[in-house]
Amino acid sequence: MIRLQQTMLLGLTLTALSCDETTTPSVTPPPAPIDVAPINAEPRALREGVSSDGTYRVGWEPIGGVIPDADPFAVRFTVTRSDAQPLTDDVRASIDAEMPHHGHGMNLVPTVKRDANGSFVASGMLLHMSGRWVVSIDVQEHGVTERTQWYVDIE
């Protein structure tokens, strides 16, 4: 946590320093990223996406349909390969969430279990403050991890 705070401090410091330069970068809130998984301004059930290197298609939804405000919740997610091949036996998946502008993640560490039909259930998720979060699901096979991520705005 200390180093996360340091990262945030550095970013703020650098932003402030940059304001003195001849070429002044904007410090206004950044525009929404282009052509990425959709920002979830409204509660929505299923969110789907393709991993950053294209190998997996991943979908997730909060169990119960909505993400509660500052309360723990669980999610169910599915992973399939884009090339339609089956996942290997050593596949591992994890889920996390962080707030890049604040430099921190969740206060809880979720646990992930795979159920009988091959989907994954993560319990212990908690988006504990309002603002934009990045929810990410990592899938690992053969020592290579790929990430799929979504923006989630908590009002």
């Binding site: 990262t7 550095l10 650098l14 940059s18 950053s52 290197d53 790929e146 990430r147």
Partner: protein, 689 residues
């Protein structure tokens, strides 16, 4: 590189100090968290031995202080690597002299550490993989441990036995006089063992630089040492926490042992009692580079004199040894340590540039600063990483590069993730993996600082990768690669677009973009500690090795040669290497505080030690950018950029840190007339150095 990162002031330290003094007026004596023992909690400044070039370790031999000075003789004519003080007591004028002929550079390759036994025997840990042992007053030394050690970083005596910390074996080895190993300690526990101390009762303490802790190996009833250690401390900057502890020493007070720890990246000496409980700290912190006089900057080695009061502190970064007098009372906190104006960037030695992206390492927070390389100055856009265990968080960054986009699968292109073509590759030696990132960067818009820009593409485990490597010659089994540089392999077929420099196996690895397959090619046998590589447009590959003091050159036909000099200029500690656009070599020599530019036939030195533009304090990594060759000037907390071509075009054109830049030379810089940049008109701003 095992050497430390750059720091004027770490945010963590600042936070600690601010927290410590929040309820007190500045300058008052702080109250340590104290368990009532008699351990020293402060130290008074006594003297400085300066110009001890790159001093790595100290030990007392009676009243004389021995110093490991691997870079002795910065003119290239290397003198003894072990030097000793001539008189006692030591003061600022005390002369250093060669310890003896047995420690000449022809005998000792690269002195990492030195230890003296109670009977006067001297042991030297040599980074080439051996231990030199010299009997008291002998003129010759014997060699033990050949073929046993991989990277012996420190040595200590335990009665007649030697205890050696090996950073690559990640263990302590106990050997007798003949080099026969009798025990191996801490296997599976130690991450990167560093300095060792042996207590009077035979207990062994070792600093673990990567794990940010000490390990205690207790003496058993039969006199042997437990092979499993007990951990002391954790990562951080608060009392009792460590950031890259490098050495430990022991003083005895009232019959109990007190541990003194060189807490390198916290820039202080911490004191613990024998149980590992925090007692106090002193020496923190050299906010001003070269501050000294009791303020400590990157301590790497400690030694307590036989008077039990005099502490020698080696600071390799500052090329000096400070002598301090231990005392029971705590020191007052330096009020200047709370000045926020000193916050600066803390560059590591690595740098990468390509596809309009400049990436530099902030090694104190384990993060990558990303800048827009199209502009002068480069605009800082985001920070990738920070400390942590998950992908996109780093334990210790050992390499960074910006490569052209390496994936082209149909599925991948369908994601339309990136507006840019570059990928940022980051090697993490602690977690033994490589993470690859892209930026969601719309280049048509003005740059903004946006922490949402970076996106993890994939994270690749190097332990799994090594199982898939094939070897072109020689060695088996392979170790898990320690990647210290990443380059584009310029492979026209596109099958192996990535070139990795592996310090662990002393090899180059050519791989596909997902590390599914790779071919490893061992470096020449004389390679010792390769640090950085570069690939020329014509296919030549250069590898800088500061331990072997060579730059190894691989011709496109696969033949190797070794350069100990460029032109007439000897290479003392070549730490970085690159090529200009016209194919000339650029080598940063951190012992010279300069870069060497040219070819085998002729070369010239650019730079000298100093803080002005076109001067360096520990020149390190090199990267090529469209606007010129960028060199990390680590000790001055900045980078400098020079022209793209060799010859007269190779001129300084930019000095930059994160947030502050200069494209006009400051007054007094080499080659700048005073009238060229009068203070009233010069756009340059003062440096944070």
């Amino acid at each position: 590189m095992p050497a430390p990162c750059v720091c004027v002031c770490s945010a963590a330290l600042l936070a600690t100090v601010v927290a410590s003094v929040a309820s007190e007026p500045l300058g008052v004596t702080h109250t340590p968290i104290h368990h009532g023992n008699d351990c020293p909690k402060g130290a008074d400044y006594r003297a400085t031995l300066s110009n001890t070039r790159g001093v790595r370790a100290v030990a007392w031999d009676g009243d004389a202080l021995l110093l490991c000075v691997a870079d002795a003789g910065s003119d290239g004519g290397l003198s003894a690597q072990i030097q000793r003080t001539s008189t006692w007591p030591i003061d600022d004028s005390t002369a250093l002299m060669a310890a003896d002929s047995w420690c000449s550079p022809t005998v000792i390759g690269f002195a990492n550490d030195v230890a003296v036994s109670a009977s006067g025997e001297i042991a030297v840990a040599d980074r080439v993989g051996i231990i030199h042992v010299r009997a008291k007053n002998a003129t010759m030394s014997t060699i033990i441990g050949e073929g046993v050690f991989e990277d012996p970083v420190s040595v200590a005596w335990r009665n007649d036995a030697l205890v050696v910390a090996d950073a690559k074996l990640r263990a302590l080895l106990v050997l007798d006089h003949n080099g026969v190993e009798s025990a191996r300690l801490g296997v599976g526990q130690l991450m990167e063992p560093s300095g060792i101390a042996v207590a009077n009762d035979g207990d062994i303490y070792v600093a673990d630089r990567l794990a940010d802790c000490l390990w205690h190996f207790a003496t058993m009833r039969d006199g042997t040492v437990a092979t499993t250690g007990t951990r002391i401390g954790e990562s951080g900057s608060n009392p009792g926490q460590f950031s890259a502890p490098r050495d430990v020493a022991i003083v005895t007070r009232a019959g109990t042992n007190c541990l003194l720890v060189a807490d390198e990246l916290n820039h202080r000496i911490q004191v613990l009692d024998a149980a590992g409980s925090f007692v106090g700290f002193f020496g923190m912190h050299a906010l001003l580079p070269r501050q000294g006089e009791g303020r400590i900057h990157y301590p790497v080695s400690l030694a307590v004199a036989r008077d039990g009061e005099t502490l020698a502190v080696a600071e390799a970064f500052e090329d000096r040894v400070q002598l301090l007098q231990l005392k029971l009372d705590a020191d007052p906190i330096d009020p200047s340590a709370t000045s926020a104006g000193f916050i600066s960037s803390h560059f590591g030695s690595e740098i990468g540039c390509g596809a309009d992206i400049l990436a530099v390492v902030d090694c104190e927070i384990e993060a990558i600063a990303i800048c827009d390389a199209r502009t002068t100055p480069p605009i800082h856009m985001c920070v990738i990483g920070g400390g942590g265990a998950l992908p996109m968080r780093f334990g210790e960054i050992s390499a960074v590069a910006v490569l052209e986009r390496t994936s082209s699968s149909a599925a991948n292109s369908a994601t339309s993730i990136s507006q840019g073509e570059g990928e940022v590759w980051v090697a993490d030696r602690f977690h033994q993996r490589i993470d690859v990132f892209r930026l969601e960067w719309d280049k048509s818009k003005p740059p903004v600082f946006d922490q949402f820009l970076p996106r993890l593409v994939r994270s690749m485990d190097l332990e799994a990768f090594v199982q898939r490597l094939s070897v072109t010659q020689g060695r088996s089994p392979l170790r898990v690669p320690e990647i210290v540089d990443i380059e584009s392999a310029r492979d026209p077929s596109g099958k192996a677009p990535v070139l990795l420099l592996d310090r662990s196996n002393r090899a180059l690895i050519r791989s596909d973009a997902r590390l599914n397959n790779g071919v490893i090619e061992l470096l020449p046998a004389e390679a010792r500690g390769p640090e950085e590589c570069a690939v020329a447009a014509d296919g030549r590959i250069a590898v800088a090795d500061p331990v072997a003091r060579r730059v190894f050159m691989r011709a496109p036909d696969g033949t190797w040669s070794a350069l100990s000099a460029l032109g007439e200029i000897a290479l003392i500690r070549p730490s970085g290497v690159g090529f200009t656009a016209d194919g000339a070599l650029v080598i940063s020599d951190s012992a010279r505080d300069a870069i060497v530019v040219g070819s085998v036939e002729s070369a010239r030195i650019v730079g000298e030690r100093g803080v002005l533009d076109e001067q360096f304090w520990d020149a390190q990594g090199i990267a090529s950018s469209p606007a010129g060759v960028i060199v990390i000037d680590r000790g001055n907390h900045r980078y400098q950029r020079f022209g793209t071509q060799s010859g007269n075009n190779f001129q300084w054109n930019l000095t930059g840190t994160l947030g502050r830049f200069y494209d006009q030379k400051r007054r007094g810089s080499p080659g700048t007339a005073l009238e060229a940049a009068p203070a009233s008109t010069a756009p340059a701003k003062d440096s944070s150095s």
